[in-house]
């Protein structure tokens, strides 16, 4: 009966339980019952029993895995949130946040499709951020100061914390099971549910609470690893070692901006939804969603999966390009306005090898098509290395240049390379470009220009590789040298950073990734055309980096996706919507056409809209959408309060003094 007693919530926990169960259950219910969650599960189950419409078994298995992962993570998240919440922020505040950041996107994406939905969300969020502080002010409400609630948890409190996680997950899954049971019974009695699924309903209702209990234990472990433990017997008492009481002292000496950052890491937390523990759960959800997207897409958005997958594959190489450019511009601080050159080099590398172009020029018999397709894999690396070589080649003459002189040399290089490809038409086919570029081959996969799924997974793999390499590079010795150069070249050189090799590496690594993107681009499109490599494209890549948040890897990814969607999907979709007379955009469009602008379409003013978005984002958020922590600190250092010097606990000169007065 020990388990039973732990599962009874105390008075404090009860409030938290209500807060989070409602907070999480409403979006989940929306997804499950109004959108497609229920449909996915039922179709999958029926098809597995041979009664459904879907016959592809591997597809069903994938969907099933996704569903299991999805609900598992949400249940564990509930436990974590209940445990991690310090209870200082009210229910209403949380529910409003969840409504704005989860329900609104779900609702809009459900109603308007992914791109338009997210675009509308962005507008709503911007307004929300603008209005929220005013409402706080009007209500005389000041959010609690982070770390004010910082507690050191002793052994007893730690056990209690873990119990709270179990309680959270358990009761959340119980509620979930009951709600599902009731809804399914209603469906059953209104004859919308096959009888055979009732067995499943019964199994699920019993299974969920048990799963909830164990997931709660897991969530408890996650929450506990982020608490501050009392100093144990010298195990991890070294400087900056474990999360000891010492850590608390360190935190108290930090500046306000740093405290706000550090507070996200700790449990108990005022804003557990934004804490680093919760972010782990989101990451699992996002990764699962992205991985299984090709099989879930038809359930969520209906017909047209292939087209959507193809366009998301295109968006993917922009992510790689932006991440590569981020190395040069973001990490090393070298303004590069000709980045498209390396992209072109990568694209032509595979374009020339991967088609009949090279063998034709050299008057050789064509290579066996299948062999050629397999050659793609080594050629990705070769294309990247060729691009990197040219990156270093460009870097070499620019070593003496500073600031905008460097920018113009890169710009010049970016102009020269496409002209060379255009005019050397003996090798590159000039303005016509190279056609008939082979798709890659992989054993047992049907792969051609018209099959988007293999490309989707290929670009996912390439992006994963790029992100991983970028993270490792950023934290490496080389990465720190880049950042040192960005901040102050002279100081970096004086501290022993070799400017020449460091800068050349930055250009080389940046170009390396655009070479990868180029090879992918050539294979995906099946052709290489010189039109895709103008100065305008370099500018777009730079805009991605700056809008996302220069030097910040998640920021750059978001920036690339945002810029690409605005450019490629958003306005095109506006035109599609405007074609429907019942839509409000139809009226807007006709109004504009009647008042002077003939033949107006939204696609026609793409640059106008994009330009306005660029200017507006820069004016209201010059540091980018998701700035890197370092940069945010630099930009907001004036807001920090002065460090209190009077209250030193350690005598100057004594061991431990350094960390005591450590100032950011």
């Amino acid at each position: 009966m020990a388990i039973a007693t732990t599962l009874v919530p105390t008075r404090d926990t009860r409030a938290l339980l209500i807060k989070w169960i409602i907070g999480l259950l409403v979006p989940l219910a929306f997804f499950t019952f109004i959108w497609s969650g229920e449909l996915i599960i039922n179709q999958t189950l029926l098809s597995m029993l041979g009664l459904g419409s879907v016959s592809d078994i591997s597809l069903l298995v994938e969907v099933a895995i996704f569903i299991v992962v999805f609900y598992t993570v949400v249940i564990a998240l509930a436990g974590y949130l209940v445990a991690a919440d310090s209870g200082h922020r009210g229910m209403i505040e949380l529910w409003i946040d969840i409504a704005v950041f989860v329900l609104v996107p779900l609702f809009l994406v459900y109603g308007q499709g992914l791109i338009i939905g997210l675009a509308l969300c962005a507008v709503i969020w911007a307004v929300f951020f603008l209005v929220r502080p005013r409402v706080y002010k009007a209500l005389n409400y000041t959010p609690p100061v982070p770390l004010q609630t910082l507690r050191v948890l002793d052994a007893e409190q730690r056990i209690e914390l873990k119990n709270r996680a179990i309680i959270g997950s358990f009761w959340f899954s119980v509620t979930l099971a009951l709600v599902w049971l009731i809804v399914d019974l209603i469906f059953f009695f209104s004859n919308n549910l096959t009888t055979i699924l009732l067995y499943w309903v019964a199994i699920r209702t019993l299974l969920l609470p048990v799963a909830g209990y164990f997931l709660g234990r897991l969530a408890g472990v996650v929450a506990l690893s982020r608490t501050i433990a009392p100093k144990s017997n010298g195990e991890n008492s070294a400087n900056g070692g474990g999360r000891t009481t010492k850590r608390r002292r360190q935190l108290e000496s930090l500046s306000a901006t740093r405290v706000r950052e550090e507070a996200q890491d700790l449990v108990p937390n005022d804003l557990p939804l934004r804490s680093s523990g919760a972010q782990r759960f989101y990451m699992i959800l996002i990764v699962a969603f992205v991985l299984f997207y090709p099989v879930i897409d038809p359930f969520l958005f209906g017909f047209g999966t292939d087209g959507r997958l193809a366009s998301y594959g295109d968006a993917g190489y922009y992510v790689i390009l932006a991440l590569g450019l981020n190395i040069v511009v973001g990490f090393a601080g070298l303004l590069d306005l000709g980045y498209v050159a390396f992209f072109a080099i990568g694209a032509y590398s595979w374009g020339i090898i991967g088609s009949t172009q090279l063998t034709n020029v050299l008057n050789l018999p064509p290579v066996d098509a299948h062999l050629l397709a397999l050659l793609f894999w080594p050629m990705v690396l070769v294309a990247a290395l060729v691009a990197a070589f040219f990156g270093v080649l460009l870097g070499a003459p620019t070593l003496r240049l500073r600031g905008d002189y460097l920018a113009i040399v890169t710009l010049g290089f970016g102009e020269i390379v496409p002209i060379v490809f255009l005019e050397l038409d003996a090798y590159t086919n000039g303005t016509n470009g190279i056609v008939g570029v082979r798709s890659p081959a992989f054993f047992g996969i049907n792969w051609s220009v018209i099959t988007p799924t293999p490309y989707y997974y290929l670009i996912l793999a390439l992006i994963a590789f790029t992100i991983f390499t970028n993270l490792r590079l950023r934290d490496s010795r080389l990465g720190r040298a880049w950042i040192a150069i960005r901040e102050d070249e002279i100081a970096a050189a004086s501290s022993g950073v070799n400017l020449v090799t460091t800068k050349l590496f930055a250009f080389g690594m940046g170009a390396f990734f655009s070479g990868i993107a180029g090879a992918y681009h050539a294979a995906k499109l099946g052709q290489v055309s010189p039109d895709n490599f103008g100065f305008g494209d370099s500018v777009i890549y730079l805009a991605m980096v700056v809008i996302g948040g220069i030097g910040s890897i998640p920021g750059v990814i978001v920036g690339a996706l945002a810029v690409y969607s605005i450019n490629q999907f958003l306005l095109a979709q506006l035109d599609t919507l405007a074609a429907d007379p019942s839509n409000v955009l139809y009226t807007v469009k006709n109004f504009i056409i009647e008042h002077g602008v003939q033949g107006f379409t939204f696609g026609n003013v793409r640059n106008l809209v994009f330009g306005i978005i660029l200017v507006v984002i820069m004016i209201f958020r010059p540091e980018g959408l998701i700035p890197s922590a370092r940069r945010r600190r630099e930009l907001h250092h004036t807001e920090d309060e002065a460090v209190e010097v009077g209250a030193l606990d350690v005598i100057p000169g004594a061991p431990g003094f350094e960390s005591e007065v450590h100032v950011e």
Binding site: V329, L335, P397, R400, L401, R402, D404, Y405, A407, I408, V409, L411, G412, F413, E415, I416, I419, V420, L422, E423, L424, D425, A426, I490, A491, F535, G536, V539, L542, A543, V546, I547, I550, V597, F600, N604, V605, R606, N607, L608, F610, G611, I612, I613, L614, V615, M618, I619, P622, E623, R631, L635
Partner: protein, 320 residues
């Protein structure tokens, strides 16, 4: 090589070079004062060409009508010049106020992206205003051809070079010998110190944009009279060359911008003399004309390798 052809191309090069120089002055002035590559500047020039066409339209002049003579001609030209200069100047000021001033203390790349945004906006405004087709400029200036030896010189070329020279001299005088010019130099050198000495920094920066825009407006008219076609993409290409000119001469340096502009114009014209490689030993595929951009940028890179701050730019000691 044919000497007559060489000199002929040189004259053409000087004309385009003069136009590049006028636009480059706008880049270099703005850069000198707020260290911003004003990507929208080329597009201000483009809007200028469209304004000129509209003003000619007000006079009833299109490329279909018979060119006017006498007083109408002078009136139309003056109206176009003044109208284009004033409107472009105001456009420059408005852009600075809306897109750059809020970013005065933002990270360095923010105003650059904002400038790119403005450039895209202006491009689409040009597109919506006059369409996407290449618009021929009404050729109203009397095209008398003079001969010096075998070299023919069009009167339009002379006009272009003269107007450009007058404007450049006037600008030099203004920057070096007037109160406003002194204030501009002071702000360029040290914004805060200038502010402490009683210079209204925001106003001086606005004036800089005003002058830069005005020069672009003048360049727009000259371009229309001498080269003769325009559409919404013109600003981008010309802006690129003009910016290159500014850097080549040493960005922030007025004389350098003029020198760079003329140099680029001349190189561009002379590049067409390089023969097609299929016809002889020496040459490039499709002839030098197709490569002129690559040649310009290659020369730029070479010059910057040996003179990292441009031809006339000063090697400033690094501030620590």
């Amino acid at each position: 090589m044919n000497l007559t052809l060489f000199i002929q191309e040189l004259v053409v090069g000087l004309t385009t070079g003069a136009i590049y120089a006028l636009i480059a002055l706008g880049y270099t002035m703005v850069y000198g004062i707020i260290e911003l590559i004003n990507f929208a500047h080329g597009d201000i020039f483009m809007i200028g060409t469209l304004i000129c066409i509209s003003i000619f339209g007000l006079f009833g002049i299109t490329n279909a009508t018979v060119p006017p003579t006498g007083l109408t001609l002078v009136g139309a030209l003056l109206a176009a010049l003044v109208g284009s200069m004033v409107l472009c100047a105001l456009l420059g000021v408005v852009i600075e106020r809306v897109a750059y001033r809020p970013l005065r203390n933002a990270p360095r790349l923010a105003p650059l992206i904002s400038a790119i945004g403005v450039s895209l906006i202006l491009e689409d405004i040009g597109k919506l205003w006059k369409g996407i087709t290449l618009i021929p400029f009404p050729q109203i200036f009397p095209q008398n051809v003079f001969y010096i030896g075998a070299v023919s010189i069009n009167s339009v070329y002379i006009l272009a070079i003269v107007v450009a020279l007058v404007l450049m001299v006037a600008l030099q005088w203004m920057v070096n010998s007037t109160r406003i010019g002194r204030a501009m130099r002071a702000v360029a050198q040290d914004r805060e110190a200038a502010a402490l000495m009683g210079v209204n920094v925001n106003r001086i920066i606005a004036i800089t944009f005003f002058i830069g825009g005005g020069l672009a407006g003048a360049a727009a008219l000259i371009w229309g009279l001498s080269i003769g076609t325009t559409n919404f993409t013109l600003g981008f290409q010309l802006g690129l060359f003009a910016f290159t000119a500014a850097v080549l001469g040493g960005i922030g340096n007025l004389a350098g911008a003029m020198l760079g502009g003329v140099l680029i114009g001349v190189v561009e014209a002379l590049a067409t003399l390089i023969p097609d490689s299929t016809t002889g030993v020496f040459g490039l595929p499709h002839g030098g004309g197709a490569w002129h951009e690559a040649i310009i940028f290659a020369i730029l890179i070479l010059i910057l390798v040996f003179r990292p701050t441009g031809l006339l730019g000063q090697q400033t000691p690094e501030k620590v």
